[in-house]
Symmetry: C2
Subunit: 279 residues, 2 copies
């Protein structure tokens, strides 16, 4: 489960080679916080510096600094006739196929294809990404790039196959409240729509999330400890075992996309159904 | 579980009276789609007309039409010193307490306090709300309004206690893929961060979501069927039993916000832990 199989794709994007050294890779960091002196900005800067020191190339999409537009609308699809009813899926697919996506969207797609690993750095706001980062997801993962018709590969394969992804989140609450029996839900369940529904869906291998807990008014010592823990996660970005989501290919699911009976350990429920059981 | 207990609150907001007739109530519909001729816009307009015909007052926040700003930033908190580091939680709390929130935020808070029921109408994009609606959530549910310090009531109580909420979503996929064993996760699990983490968290009783499946290129007959199903859900907006989430008050959770052992039926896992077991 730890090894990464190169998947031949039409995009010509760089592929990870099994056994290749863990340096000289390309990493995209996407970050979304309005304050350049925030904990999130610090962690993004720290990650960029650590990864560069390890010999990787790093690009950063700082969405607030870029004044990233959050809302999908007709301006995303240049050439869209304003008098025509906007069917988002159809317009997105046409503009993707015909190279008519807005320049800011095309630039982010290019960065994703360039990257061998993607890190999303954000504060957990209302149990998800900040709106600006949701707008990056909504606008960049177009029809034909992030999703497509029924025959488009997904869940373990897709446009971004061969890449790795990790969420790095700051959380105001304490870890107990996001533990297996925590009232907010287990962190991996709260992040499932992102980790499974976006990152794994588009083909990426997804690492366990990195979380800084109780992140409001972090003291110097706690910040040093968080950085140390993050350093270790960055060091193993290309070697740590990913979350063992079940691929769509491989027979676990029916044609109507339901998990076949008997594939899980007895008593498994919720999103855990979509993890491969430990042997 | 079906009755709604009035909760005395400092806000002076209208409270639902047990046994009161299901008319003459206030309903806020928040909708987020860039196309005024979209299915989502149709459903929002249909709901407004149906509810008004039933004797309710309806207000609609059409976020794209309002050009709703999605990103939390210093402009949300008037009087914030631009030279000062923006601590979002602290600035949000101060501006809420001191009546210095941006006018668009204050107007939405006033609508929520006015409402007896809130409907969020949106297309499910990447397993969550569109960015513009996430920006409504991030910006309107401020510190001191939507959340607060440790002693702020939450999960079954809070600023919006006594109100009802329902998500009305359009989904491109078919229902099987969002069923109990569906690859995307069960719809109620995918919506848990919104239904439990936002709506129930702030005190509202949350109804089962209304979903239109396979919503891309819906035919006339399917649209008529969807409207008929939605009509029934609107008719029972004030009487249908809500999702039986566990309140924070009542002893099910420890001080560190973990569900106490033995509270659930054996074999329950994932978000289902936070539902009261059927008797």
């Amino acid at each position: 489960m730890n090894s990464i199989e190169p998947t031949p794709r039409a995009t010509g994007a760089p592929r990870l080679q099994e056994g290749a050294p863990a340096s000289g890779r390309n990493v995209l960091i996407v970050t979304a916080h309005p304050e350049p002196r925030s904990l999130n900005a610090s962690l993004a800067g720290f990650a960029a510096a650590e990864l560069r020191a390890a010999g990787h190339e790093v690009r950063v999409s700082d969405l607030y600094a870029m004044k990233w537009k959050a809302g999908v609308d007709a301006d995303d699809f240049s050439g869209h006739d304003p008098a025509e009813r906007l069917d988002v899926v159809a317009a997105s697919g046409r503009a993707t196929r015909e190279g008519r996506l807005a320049a800011d969207i095309a630039a982010e797609q290019e960065k994703l294809l360039w990257a061998d690993a993607v890190i999303l750095q954000f504060p957990l706001w209302w149990f998800s990404v900040p709106a600006v980062l949701k707008g990056w997801i909504d606008r960049v993962f177009t029809h034909g790039f992030g999703y497509g018709d029924k025959d488009m590969p997904r869940y373990g394969d897709g446009t971004l196959a061969g890449r790795r992804a990790m969420l790095s989140v700051t959380v105001g609450a304490r870890e107990d409240a996001f533990s297996d029996r925590g009232i907010h839900g287990a962190l991996n369940d709260v992040l499932f729509p992102l980790q499974h529904g976006l990152l794994y869906y588009t083909g990426m291998e997804v690492l366990q999330p990195f979380a800084v807990w109780h992140a409001i008014g972090l003291g110097d010592e706690e910040y040093r400890a968080a950085r140390q823990a993050y350093r270790e996660r960055l060091r193993t970005l290309f070697t740590a075992p990913p979350i063992p989501f079940r691929p769509l290919r491989g027979g676990d699911y029916t044609r109507s996309l339901r998990l076949r009976p008997g594939r899980e350990e007895p008593g498994t429920g919720g999103f855990a159904l979509h993890l491969r059981p430990a042997r």
